[in-house]
């Protein structure tokens, strides 16, 4: 079971699309075996500090370990999975 956090800034249409795209990616590629927690940094900056988030959007894969964090443009799903170490696990 993958435990994932996504840190975003606000709720713009682009952010909502990013969330929907990632949910679709994880559902398809992880056989739905994941939990995704969405954290709005504007409302919860302390959580971002605790997870050492430096920019939005950031994905933190908490488990299975090791913990990995990725930032940037998440439109390339294959690259997202590879950067998170979710390929061939």
């Amino acid at each position: 079971m993958y435990q994932i956090r996504l840190y975003v800034a606000g709720q713009s249409p682009k952010t909502i699309k990013t969330i929907e795209d990632l949910k679709r990616l994880f559902t398809d590629e992880l056989d739905n075996l994941y939990s995704l927690e969405i954290i709005n940094v504007l409302e919860n900056p302390l959580a971002a500090k605790d997870d050492r988030v430096l920019a939005t959007p950031t994905i933190v894969k908490l488990s299975p370990q090791p913990v990995r964090r990725i930032v940037g443009d998440f439109r390339d799903g294959d690259r997202v999975l590879e950067s998170l170490g979710m390929v061939n696990q």
């Binding site: 713009s12 990995r68 940037g72 443009d73 998170l84």
Partner: protein
């Protein structure tokens, strides 16, 4: 063709730091010392990424963000700020208006800034390595 980055910040040390960070990179950096100047530069040049300070005299970051978004709906705009709730009130209001932006924590090291920028412009990148938590 190298990608163009605009840095809008009233602090000359911050502008210099950004310029030095990208000096030997594939990116071309322009700087603006105020919100007004940044908006003017964005009228004449299509930037691939904008870093925007939140607290500035004159046109502040929120006002500049609204102006920049009216000109370009798609360019990534990163508000550079400390992650404190007291700084986020105005940004909450902008967010509720559906205006898109992202956040970059201040301060950030040159190495992390470069990594984050590559992630924004070239696709997601791992940052901070991987580690086993307790």
């Amino acid at each position: 063709m190298s990608k163009h980055i605009l840095v809008i910040d009233d602090d000359p040390n911050v502008r210099k730091s950004f310029s030095l960070t990208f000096e030997d990179s594939a990116y071309h950096v322009e700087t603006a010392k105020s919100g007004e100047q940044g908006v003017e530069k964005a009228k004449s040049t299509r930037f691939d990424l904008i870093f925007l300070d939140l607290k500035m005299p004159g046109m502040n970051g929120v006002e500049a963000l609204r102006e920049l978004r009216m000109m370009d709906r798609d360019v990534p705009i990163y508000i550079v700020t400390a992650f404190h709730k007291e700084f986020f009130d105005q940004l909450q209001s902008v967010s509720h208006d559906g205006i898109d932006f992202d956040l970059l924590q201040k301060p950030v090291s040159p190495e992390k800034l470069l990594s984050i920028t590559v992630g924004i412009l070239e696709g997601s990148v791992s940052i901070g390595g991987c580690y086993v938590s307790n």
